[in-house]
Every structure is written in structure tokens, then in C-alpha cells.
Symmetry: none
Subunit: 204 residues, 4 copies
DNA sequence: GATGAATGAGCTTTCATTCAT
DNA sequence: GATGAATGAAAGCTCATTCAT
């Protein structure tokens, strides 16, 4: 279907090779030679396609993330009611983060350096996520499960809330001795808070 | 209580600083300056206490491991019958490995270099583990839950079996493209095999 | 005459700079900065041309060795009869070793680490050495100086014998307190043994 | 016979251990731990007996040198006439230098750093050397082999001449590409010059 | 006198990044 | 577009040397 320019095609190849290496050696241990070697390219050539190693990582993680999000949305829709759908979606979304970081063995240190750029790029995906939640909520309203005037605002707020909770444990981890963000805490909080929010929305 | 020589005290300090750094940056990303800086030492000084970076890591992991094992044994004893105790202990034990490697973000590459030395040092702990299983099994015999003549042999065999299963997925990971050992497989196998073994022990 | 690629040309430059430094400071005291500085390169650049310092040394020694061997063969041919030629060649060959190690001040310790790799690379030269001895012997047969059916086998055996004798004193040196291989012993033995061998060959 | 203070005794022990190590590993590769380990001392303790590693080396070389000189003088006296004695003595003396540097694998670089201090310490030995030559010459005069008014001056001049020639090739080596002092040249020159000098002394 | 402890300087090696061609 | 070639920065490690005890 999609016609990719040659440049896009090679970028994709690089991304795939990188994904493989990141999963195998971790972000920091993967060398540009590891990546370029797989696709028979010189390591200097990577710089024609990407600004630097970090950008390759971000791209890979974003593409993977988008695939995952699409998949997750399909799964979420199978839950029985709006609340379950929303809770499931928000929780799994955070859990995904944890897995990605573990998979690529990114140190929180590096993470913090990367995150700003990540969210910059993530913006587009984020909008689609809010759109998805908006739809769910709207259909919940239609089915009479909940009542609320501004669905879009709620959708955006929920996403922001869960991202904020996630951020929170990441920052905590940076301050505390522990070093490892306790994403489980975010996930529990999300469950609790969404539960309370929906209690209110149903009451009416 | 425990009187540590000054050298021992500083080794402990180094170990704690290292543990913190390994958890935060991962083994490979942690520099000796990171570690020594925390306790106000010059990086060269670490070599007075440890032969090299790897040795620091092994020490830290072993000490942590021993603490964990002690704790795990207490937990295992709370399970209702011998079989549950044994299965729980063996499964959690392997799960711990997975967590440790994830926590410190050790690349499989490095892992393979370190493992031989690790098991050399682990020998002592291993004996205490076998001793623990032996006790559990003996008390199971006493309570009439199971029947078997040589409890000690069974204990050693069970430990060796679960370690072998763990090794197996590690070796597989090295051969396969994936790179990541699938410890879940080992854990499932342990559950299955111990189940079958105890079926036999109960039959009598 | 010979057209060298740019890479080959620079490798040669490095080799020459290295030879100069090794002779001046000795292998272990020569730093990569010493070598790279001479030809106006950054020390990291050496790694583009050679895997490591040891490889530079091996290359340099091999190239020098080959030159020496060629020269030695011309000299040996000037001796009056086969026996003299063979004895001269084998003795000088061992003496060269001693001189090279002295010249570059290689510690026996380092020597032992390097030797296996050296002989791996030396294989090619060795064959030409055997070929040379084979020729000498054949011409000795033609002139009626000696009698033997398999000249090639004798050639190979003589080279191996003298190398074995050299190895021997190197191993001895490692065991004994002295540390320094007594190559003179090998040289004396070679003289003695070749003398006896040729006595037999002439008798017929 | 000689009663050594405890300090002197330990200095001697250190010297012997050092000599062993220098011969085995060379000056630069020998660590203070190598030396102190042999006599069961802490490496820091060496600094109570010697100012630094270089001083240990100088001491060792001087002591060895003195032994050698004594021995050499006895040997020289066995030569048939003054000229032979003088030539032999001066030549062997320089050859000894070459051997010592080879034995301990001292780089000319290091040598130049050490030499000034060496000659400072050597002063005493030097006087005895001049005294020895003086005696030889005097006995030559007595036997009517040669004629000269100031024997002591000649003795000193001869020593200085041969040392100067030696210095010369060392400095040459530093300037030239070669790196290795060609002591053979000095030795040839000594032979030539002493020959001419004695020609003159005999003429009269 | 002896040494445990600490360190600065220097070494080899790796790697992301740059740039002329 | 691609890459050969180069490099700065930083890592792990070694060792002579210092110093308080």
C-alpha cells in the first residue's frame, strides 16, 4: 500500500536493526557498528538518516509504541463497560513503559535526558490517544453508563493524570536511593483514582 | 553487634554505593568514579578493596542474594504443605535471578562472562539452600505427607534441576536471535516437574 | 614499484614509527601516543589500522623478521658446504630471536602471552624457511656431499628441531628463577645435533 | 666479617630481591610490590630504605658494578703487558655497560634520566678505577715498557676518554632514528686510540 | 620501623560523532 | 548518498609515591 521513499525504507531498516540490538544489548551497550553492520551499512552512514544514536532510539521506541497503542486500543474495546475500558487502557499503557525500559535496559539517568525529546515526538500519538479515550467515553455516555458534559476534556485529563503519576514515580526514583521507578504504584493509583472519578460520573 | 574491621567497613560502604549505582545506571553504565564518588574516595582506591569492577558486582549481588534467600525461606515455610513450599521456593528463586539481572541491566554478553565466577562463589549459599530443602522435605515426611528414603539427595537434585532449567534458557538465549533468556519457561517447567515428582512421592 | 593503498601506506608508517619506538623505549614502555605522535595521528586512530598494541608489535616484528630471514639465506648460501650452510642458518636464526627480544626489551611474561599468536602468523614464513633448507639439502645431494631420500622431510625436521630447542629454553626460563632464556644453550645444541645428523648423512 | 647494621642488612636484602626482579622483568616492568613481596615486606616500607625505585636500581647496579670491576681488574692483570692490560680493561668496562642495560632492559630514555645521579654515586668507584690504571701504568714504567711523567693524569684521562666515547654513542642514539647506542663503535675507538697513545709512550 | 590506606598520573581501549571526498 | 579516516572524551586499570598511625 504505502509507498516509502528510499530514504524512508532505509530508515525503517535501521530502526529494525536497532530494535533488535537494543533488545539484545540494551540501549547503552548497543554500538552504532552493531546496528549498521546488520544492514550492511557503514556506521557513518547512519548519520545521514538520523541525527544521533538517541534519535534512533526514540524513533524505534515511538514506532513500537504506536503499534502497541493501536493494539491496546483494540483490546480495551473488548472490556465490558466504559470504566473497565478506561482503567484497563490507562493501566496497561503505564505498564508498557516499564516493559520498554526494562527491555532496552535504559537507565533512569538516560531516560531523563531523553524524555523531553520523547514527549515532543509523542505529541502526535498523544492526540490519537486522547481521541480514543474521547470515543470510549462518548459511547459510554450514549449507552447511559455515565454522564458528563465535556468528554474531550475528561479524556485529556485522564491521560495527563496517568502520565503525571508515571512521571511522579520516575522523579521519586531519581531523588530516593532506590533508583528504580516503582511503576506499580502509579498503576495502583490510576486504578483508585479512575474508580473514584467514575463513581461520580455514574451517580448522576 | 558485629565488629567489622575498618577494611570490612569500607568494603561494605563500597558495596552499598555500588548497589545504589548499579540499580540506577546498570552494571555497565556505572563507572568506578560513580561508586567511589559517593563515599568520597578516589576511584583508584576501589582497587585496594576489590580486584576490579566485576568483583564489586559479584560481591554486591551475592550479599543481596543471600539476604533474599534467607527471606524467601521464611516465606516458603508459611505455605501449607511440603509440595507448595518446595514449588514456591524453587520458582521464586529463579524469578529472583530474572529480577536481579533486570535490576542491574546486565547484558547477556556480560552475564556469560561473569556467570562462571559467580557460581564459584555461590557454592556456599547453594549448600545452605540444599540444607533448607532437606529440612522441608524431612518435616513433610514426618507429617506423613510424603515418603522417600534419601531426603538429602532429593533436595540436592531439586536444586540442581531448577538451576539446570535456568541455565538452559540462558544458553538458548545465547544461541537464538532473541538474546533475552525466557525465565518464565524455566518457571513453568519447574512447576510441572515438581508436581510430577510429588505425585510419585505421595502415591506410596 | 609497489602500489600500496593509502591504508597500507599508513599501516607501514605506523609500523615504522612503532619499530623506532620499540627499539628506543622497548615494547612495554612505548605508548600509543609515542607511536601516533611521530606520524601526526591521534592515538585513537591507531585502532583504525590495528586491533591493539600487541598487533602492532607482531606486525613490526614479523616484517622485520622476514627481511632478516631473506638476508640470512643469502649469507648462508656463501658458506662452503651443506653442513656449514645448515648449521649457520639454524644458529643465526635462533640468535636473531634473542636479539629481537633484547632489542625490544620484551619481558618473558609478555613474551609468553604473545608467542602463540606470533607462531600463528609466522606459519607462512616458516614454510619458506623449510623450502630454503630443502633447496640447500638438495644441492648438497647433487654435489654428492650427502645422501638422503626425503630432503623435504629432513628440512622440516631440522627447522622444527631448532624451534623446539628454542622453545625449550624459553620454558625453562619460565620455571627457573633466572627468567632469562639461555638461548646460547639452544645454539650449542643445534651445532651438536646437526653435526651428528650430517655425520650420518655423509657416512652413506 | 663485616657487621652490618639492621638497616644495612635489609637494604642488602632489598637490593638482592630487586636485582632478581630487574633481571627477570626489566627495570620498568618491575613493580615495588614484586620486590617487597620477595622479602615479605610491605611496598611502602621500601621507602624507608630507599628514596625511590630509581635509587634502588642505582644501588643495585652500583654494587654489581663494583663486584664486576674488582673481578675485571684481577683478570686484566693477567694480560702480558701494560698496553694489553689497559686496552682489555677499558674495552671490557664499556662492554659491561651494554650488558647491564640489556640485562635490565633499561630504555636509553630512562638511562639518560638516571645517568647524572649514577655518575654522582659512581664517583667513588671511579677513583678506584683510576687508581687501578695508575698502578698498572706505574708498573709498566717500572718494567720499562713505557715512559711517561704523570701516570695519574694519564690514568684519569684514559678513563675519561673511554667514558666520553661511551657517552657519545649514547647521545648519538638519542638523536638518530636508531635508538640503540652502538657500543661496539666505542669499543673499536678505544682500541684504536689506546693503541696510538701507547705507540707514543713506547717510542721514547 | 612498618604498614594500611589513599591518590595522581598515565596507560590501553572503546565509541559516538564529524567531515572531506 | 556513502564511507574511509580521524578524534575527543571517557572508561577500567596499574603503579610509584605519600602519609598518618
Amino acid at each position: 500500500m504505502e509507498k516509502l521513499s528510499k530514504k524512508e525504507r532505509i530508515k525503517k531498516e535501521i530502526g529494525e536493526a536497532a530494535l533488535f540490538c537494543f533488545a539484545k544489548y540494551g540501549l547503552e551497550k548497543t554500538t552504532l557498528e552493531d546496528i549498521s553492520g546488520i544492514i550492511g551499512l557503514n556506521k557513518a552512514s547512519l548519520y545521514y538518516y538520523y541525527k544521533n544514536k538517541e534519535d534512533i532510539f526514540l524513533d524505534v521506541v515511538l514506532v513500537e509504541g504506536e503499534k502497541y497503542i493501536t493494539n491496546l486500543q483494540a483490546k480495551a474495546l473488548q472490556k465490558k463497560d466504559v470504566e473497565s475500558q478506561v482503567v484497563y487502557y490507562l493501566k496497561e499503557r503505564v505498564a508498557y513503559y516499564k516493559d520498554v525500559l526494562n527491555l532496552h535496559r535504559v537507565s533512569p539517568e538516560t531516560l531523563n535526558r531523553i524524555l523531553p525529546r520523547f514527549f515532543e515526538l509523542y505529541e502526535r500519538v498523544l492526540k490519537s490517544e486522547i481521541g480514543f479515550l474521547d470515543q470510549i467515553i462518548k459511547s459510554g455516555i450514549k449507552k447511559g453508563e455515565i454522564k458528563i458534559s465535556s468528554s474531550a476534556n475528561l479524556a485529556a485529563a485522564l491521560i495527563r493524570m496517568s502520565d503525571a503519576l508515571k512521571h511522579n514515580v520516575e522523579k521519586q526514583a531519581n531523588i530516593n536511593k532506590s533508583g528504580k521507578p516503582d511503576y506499580e504504584e502509579s498503576i495502583r493509583d490510576i486504578g483508585l483514582l479512575v474508580g473514584l472519578i467514575f463513581k461520580g460520573l455514574k451517580k448522576n
